[in-house]
């Protein structure tokens, strides 16, 4: 793969997106379908106008065919994100967000922005969140330690982002630390 060195060591964002698309999501189907078995499990039945819970990949697929409306997850709204952003900018720690919020929000904003309230505002909030959190994780570099790293509430995408560098650095630190003790 013609990926930059840094990325080759970790999962690519599209792969993460793929993983996250296994998560379940509520939709309002526009077609009816019996309970159907897929490799990942049986989903359905779809009975409009009742809501159904399906994996994101399926929701995206249906949505792209205009066969469902996606019900935004509870955290994907302006109020909630604004609240988290405030936390993010005022407190040192990471705020409590779903582990894969980045992937999911990206997918939903791409595919179902018409089902979300105020998608533009959501986008900008997510962007702000990402920047605020990125700054914190960069900041965390200072506290890098050879043995452990605790970053509660870090999301999958962010972990993935810092992994190549952090792992390498920690490896290096380990070596540095071990030398003296060995000696």
């Amino acid at each position: 793969m013609a990926l930059p060195e840094s990325l080759r060591m970790s999962i690519t964002p599209p792969e993460l997106e793929l993983i996250s698309s296994q998560q379940l999501l509520e939709i309002v189907p526009l077609i009816s379908m019996e309970r159907t078995a897929f490799i990942s499990g049986a989903y359905g039945p779809l009975r409009p106008p009742n809501k159904a819970i399906v994996p994101i990949w399926m929701a995206v697929n249906l949505k792209s065919k205009k066969k469902c409306h996606i019900v935004a997850p509870a955290w994907l709204n302006v109020d909630f994100l604004q609240d988290r952003l405030n936390y993010e900018t005022s407190k040192p720690g990471f705020s409590d967000l779903p582990f894969r919020f980045m992937e999911i929000s990206k997918v939903l904003l791409d595919v179902a922005s018409d089902d979300l309230e105020d998608p533009d505002k959501l986008r900008s909030l997510l962007k702000d969140l990402r920047e605020a959190r990125q700054a914190k994780s960069r900041d965390g570099l200072k506290r890098l330690d050879h043995s452990e790293l605790s970053l509660p509430n870090l999301s999958s995408m962010e972990i993935n982002e810092i992994r190549p560098f952090f792992v390498q650095s920690m490896h290096m630190l380990t070596q540095l630390v071990r030398e003296p003790s060995a000696a």
Partner: protein, 1119 residues
């Protein structure tokens, strides 16, 4: 359109007009300074009288019962004698400023005079020295009008204000000032100044109409003095120059330029218009108080009369009594929309109270309207369909407002949009485009049905989405009577559409519903058989107090009289759920609603009872759950579901939800607008604040979990009870099947929950509770787990009791069968179970049979000649055997020899049977068939003595006990033997081919019969089984059959015999192990004596005994 009667009355210029109170005369004034007095009965050539005292242009005329007044620009108000030009004096001299308007109050005592001064004068006609001056305007006052009760005076000033004066007090006060509706026009010489800006009170006194500066007619409610609605139509444009209301308040006439428009005040729709004189501007309009006529004067000085202005299919503009005008009653309260405010309905009484002491006249007016209202409400109630709460039909005794009819989940027109229907199938949304409506039908399941929209010129105001089609209804209008349109789903080519017209004038549609079976297939597929299942059923509730049932293709099926006020309805697959009010509302606040569930099929009423709506509350929604049960939601926030609704007269309302207790509702002001109910959820739209109905865009459907509002906070217990409710509903919906996978899995789930509850009970040492819960367990297997639980908690007593319960459960009939029997009993009252069985039997046999159980006569037997020789004396027919429906079993038997032996027609036997057997026998073997009859007689006697040992014969015929036992041990051996023996004999047709010499084998077969499963299964065995279960006789007969066979040992057809024996022994076969045989042997000795009777079978006693015991066993089981 009727012809206009036009006369030239005055010179060009501003003219004014008034009609006398009795409508016999008209007074017109113009700039030529004269007033003409027209007799309304005369034609256009009539030369009117004139009053020409005025020095300047006449600007206003007014009429009271005994006089009329004219006002002119010379500032004098003159009084004349009624209907003549005789001047009686000056009422007022306005000291040089032009009089602009005169208004005599409804009682005829006072006249309000407006002039170019800022003050309004109110002069008492009887004593013109009593004058009130009303100061408030800051410009000349253009018009004045009186409230119908005389308690209020409204004046419209050139300053753009409408001032409402309270006249009931000694010194008039300003009640309120309304600004921003009428234009401010300072220039008294401008054309606009002469335009009508008066507040025209509706006769009910609850609101007035006024021409606004936006060139609309707006309605202003008296309750809060706000603009509530407007009249608009695409044909009407330009300034409103004159405005008038009919004496009964049903119609409003307006003039724009030269055109006169007539509006219905109820529907706010244009119902007629007249082009008038081209180029002229109409300055004054008036309805005749005694006939259907509108008169006006225009700026060219013309005086025009338009008789028959109101189209024939509309109520008369004059009559206001229900009695005189039953078909076309007058709605007292124009449109629900006029009363946006809930307060309106409820404040009427308050208002009346306020005014009662001040002004008796007010009450009079109001009371009139109450009377009219009753009729109007009936007719017009559907108009208010969407507004459930704020538009009450007024009642004679207006203590509890009766709820008007409504369509479930519909809304009133709001911002040019309304919903006609909203359910789990889809939405009907209407957009008002002024000249027409756009109806948009959207479905949730787009795979099944395709949404569509159409232009609607009829202004449908009711709609219903059914499983098979959508139905719409429109009110009567100028161009068409009320009608119903049904659009089935499927082909969108309008092929299936039909229209149903209510021809009778004044009829209207109060509600519509369409039902049908849920389609399993998509309506979008273009299959030829797409309409195989029909278009369902349509029900229409009309103002002629009936429910009209039509088929989906528009065939009228029945007009069912409904002896109640229709309120609402919803249609299911096979029936319609109708809510109605049998009488009036009660004095203590109950809506007094009841419901009926009426079958489409035969119009039978399945359920009929009262709706559980608390006092002081109204029904908000009705619908069906996804299981098909009727459900209601009321303003108290409760959801009720009708249980056991399939069983006639067993239904009851179960409260399944209280929306006030919802978790999410805490601390929020919101209400719920239901659209459907699934098993566990209430589908609704959530309305914020005090919203009454959803606006556009439509909010998403929310699912609220339903919890039975039990008072004890035990979520587990609640869950179990809720599930039990659903399961019982699901079970009720089954027909012949016992259960379904879905139900079983649900039951398992409930059992799991129950186990938890049992565990909790065990833990708490609450043995009675644990037992009670255990009794609710569905699956018998679960008892085992419950017992283990009890053991775990060392509750020995409980465990024992549970074991007893389990044993009991295992012994008794399957509860599912019991449930099915219950269903059958309830749903099909006539045939009890047993009869059903009999029927099936008789049909199976192809002959009608007498009651088998009742037939205790000995069985008819036909002996084979050969067998007869040997066995005839010995054969025993026991009671049992005689009762046995041998014929049933045997005819099927492939072995004719046996059949013939047992069944051959005997005198005792029913003729039909005997006949039948005979024919069979004949078919099979003529030679044998004939001989038997003589022998029969001998046989019956022979058998009777040996009742106890009927079976033994078969055995006796066996030569060898040991041999038989061996055979019985191994089924295959036996079969082999049988086959060997029988060879070709197996064929039924040659039973006798085998000589009696095969007795031994025959015996062998018999023994094996008991032990073995049928080697050659034939249809007969199965049937026999059934029969056996039900009737002991059958078994007995088989015993006899065995005997017969034993006696017929000569025939010796192994195969046949085995079959026969199978039939008898199926039940016992399990028990027929060698061991059991061995056990039976010792006992057998005692009975040998009887067996020995049979000369043929001397030595087979053991076997015979064994068989006997077996038989007895079987019989006891069966019994």
């Amino acid at each position: 359109m009727s012809k206009l009667i036009s006369s030239q009355a005055h010179d060009s210029g501003i003219t004014c007009l008034v009609l006398s109170k009795d409508g016999s005369h008209a007074y017109t004034g113009g700039e030529d300074c004269i007033v003409r007095i027209w007799k309304m009965d005369e034609g256009p050539d009539y030369e009117p009288a004139t009053a020409s005292e005025a020095d300047q242009a006449i600007t206003a005329v007014a009429a009271a019962d005994y006089c009329w007044l004219s006002g002119s620009e010379d500032a004098v108000v003159r009084q004349y004698v009624k209907d003549t030009s005789e001047l009686t004096g000056h009422v007022w001299d306005a000291s040089g400023v032009a009089v602009r308007s005169l208004a005599i109050d409804p009682t005829g005592k006072m006249v309000a005079i407006t002039s170019d001064t800022f003050d309004v004068k109110v002069v008492h006609l009887e004593d013109i020295t009593i004058v009130s001056q009303l100061k408030g305007h800051v410009g000349s006052v253009r018009r004045a009008t009186w409230h119908p009760s005389s308690s209020l005076l409204t004046t419209s000033g050139s300053d753009g204000k409408i001032i409402i004066w309270k006249m009931s007090t000694l010194q008039p006060e300003i009640e309120t000032i309304i600004e921003g509706i009428i234009p401010a026009i300072g220039d008294t010489s401008s054309h606009e100044y002469a335009h009508d800006c008066s507040a025209v009170w509706h006769t009910s006194g609850q609101y007035f109409y006024v021409a606004s500066r936006a060139h609309e007619i707006v309605t202003v409610s008296r309750s809060d003095w706000t603009k509530t609605s407007t009249f608009s139509d695409k044909e009407v444009s330009g300034a409103i120059t004159a405005l008038a209301i009919s004496v009964n308040g049903v119609y409003l006439a307006s003039a724009s330029k030269s055109t006169v428009h007539v509006w219905s005040t109820q529907t706010r729709r244009l119902i007629a218009s007249h082009p008038g004189t081209p180029g002229a501007t109409i300055t004054h309009l008036a309805f005749s108080p005694r006939e259907d006529l509108i008169a006006w004067t225009d700026s060219k000085g013309g005086f025009n009369r338009w008789p028959k202005a109101i189209p024939d299919n509309f109520p008369d503009p004059v009559k206001r009594s229900v009695a005189t005008n039953a078909a076309a009653t007058i709605p007292a309260r124009p449109k629900t929309n006029l009363f946006d405010d809930i307060a309106e309905a409820t404040t009427i009484n308050a208002l009346r109270d306020d005014n009662a002491e001040l002004d008796p006249g007010f009450d009079d007016v109001d009371d009139d309207w109450i009377i009219d209202d009753l009729g109007g409400g009936l007719q017009d109630a559907s108009e208010g369909a969407g507004k459930k709460q704020d538009a009450y039909v007024k009642e004679m005794v207006s203590i509890t407002k009766a709820q008007p009819p409504f369509q479930p989940a519909s809304t009133p027109m709001d911002r040019k949009k309304r919903l006609l229907a909203y359910n789990t199938i889809g939405v009907i949304e209407v957009t008002d485009q002024d000249t027409h409506h756009i109806v948009n039908v959207e479905f949730f399941d787009r795979s099944a049905r395709q949404g569509y929209n159409f232009t609607d010129h009829f202004r449908y105001h009711l709609g219903y989405l059914g499983e098979r089609g959508a139905v719409f209804a429109c009110p009567a209008e100028e161009a068409h009577p009320a009608q119903v349109l049904y659009k089935p789903y499927g082909g969108w080519n309008k092929q299936g559409d039909w229209t149903y017209v209510l021809k009778r004038p004044g009829s209207s549609v109060l509600g519509v519903a369409a039902g049908g079976l849920r389609s399993s297939r998509s309506f979008r597929q273009k299959d030829d058989d797409s309409d195989l299942h029909g278009y369902g059923n349509v029900v229409i509730a009309t103002s002629e107090s009936d429910l009209t049932f039509l088929s989906g293709t528009g065939r009228e099926r029945r007009i069912m009289g409904l002896g109640a006020d229709f309120v609402s309805m919803a249609a299911g697959p096979e029936w319609v759920f109708v809510v109605h009010r049998a009488g009036s509302t009660t004095i203590d606040g109950s809506q007094n609603l009841s419901y009926s569930v009426i079958n489409f099929e035969d119009f039978s009423v399945k359920q009929r009872d009262v709706l559980p709506i608390p006092k002081g509350h109204v029904l908000k929604w009705i619908g069906l759950t996804d299981q098909g049960a009727p459900a209601i939601y009321d303003s108290a926030g409760w959801v009720h579901i009708l249980t056991k609704f399939r069983i006639p007269h067993h239904a009851s309302w179960a409260r399944v939800m209280d929306t006030n207790l919802l978790e999410r509702r805490k601390g929020k002001d919101e209400s719920y607008w239901p659209v459907g109910i699934t098993e566990s959820n209430l589908l609704c739209l959530i309305l914020k604040g005090r919203q009454e109905y959803p606006g556009s865009p439509r909010p998403l459907i929310q699912e609220l979990p339903m919890h039975i509002p039990f008072r004890l906070e035990e979520p587990k217990g609640e869950l179990v009870e809720r599930e039990l409710l659903h399961i019982s509903t699901a079970l009720d919906s089954l027909e012949d099947e016992l259960t379904t996978d879905a139900i079983v899995s649900r039951e398992r789930a409930v059992d799991r929950e129950l186990m938890l509850l049992i565990q909790a009970a065990c833990k708490a040492d609450n043995v009675p509770r644990a037992i009670e819960l255990a009794k609710l367990l569905h699956q018998t297997e679960t008892f085992g787990a419950a017992i283990k639980l009890a053991d775990f908690y060392h509750l020995v007593g409980l465990a024992e009791k549970l074991r007893i319960l389990q044993a009991e459960r295992e012994e008794t009939d399957d509860r599912l069968i019991a449930a099915r029997n219950k269903r059958r009993r309830w749903l099909k009252p006539d045939p009890p179970l047993r009869e059903v069985v009999q029927l099936s039997k008789s049909t199976a046999n192809g002959s009608s049979r007498v009651d088998l159980l009742g037939d205790v006569r000995p069985p008819p037997t036909i002996e084979r000649p050969r067998l007869a020789r040997v066995t005839a004396p010995v054969i025993e027919t026991t009671r049992y055997s005689s009762v046995a429906p041998a014929p049933v079993l045997l005819p099927r038997d492939p072995t004719p020899s046996l059949d013939a032996a047992v069944d051959s027609p005997s005198p005792s036997f029913g003729p039909g049977d005997g006949k039948r057997k005979r024919t069979e026998a004949d078919d099979l073997d003529f030679s044998f068939a004939t001989p038997p009859p003589p022998r029969q007689k001998t046989n019956p006697f022979a058998r009777k003595p040996g009742q106890e040992s009927r079976n033994p014969f078969a055995r006796k015929s066996d030569g060898n006990n040991g041999r038989t036992i061996q055979k019985s041990e191994s089924f295959f051996d036996k079969v082999g033997a049988a086959e060997d023996d029988a060879g070709g004999q197996a064929h039924a047709k040659r039973p006798f081919a085998k000589p009696p010499g095969n007795q031994e084998k025959g015996v062998v077969r018999q023994t094996t019969l008991f032990g073995m499963p049928p080697p050659k299964p034939k249809p007969k065995p199965g049937k026999e089984k059934e029969i056996e279960r039900k009737t002991t006789t059958t078994k007995a007969k088989k015993g006899s059959g065995l005997n017969a066979s034993a006696s017929a040992a000569a025939s010796g057809e192994g195969a046949e015999e085995t079959q026969d024996s199978q039939a008898t022994d199926i039940v016992m076969s399990d028990a027929n192990t060698p061991a059991s045989v061995a056990e039976a042997e010792p006992e057998a000795v005692t009975q040998d004596a009887t067996e020995s009777q049979d000369p043929q079978v001397g030595d087979s006693s053991l076997i015979a005994n064994w068989e006997e015991t077996q038989l007895v066993e079987v019989e006891s089981q069966d019994l």
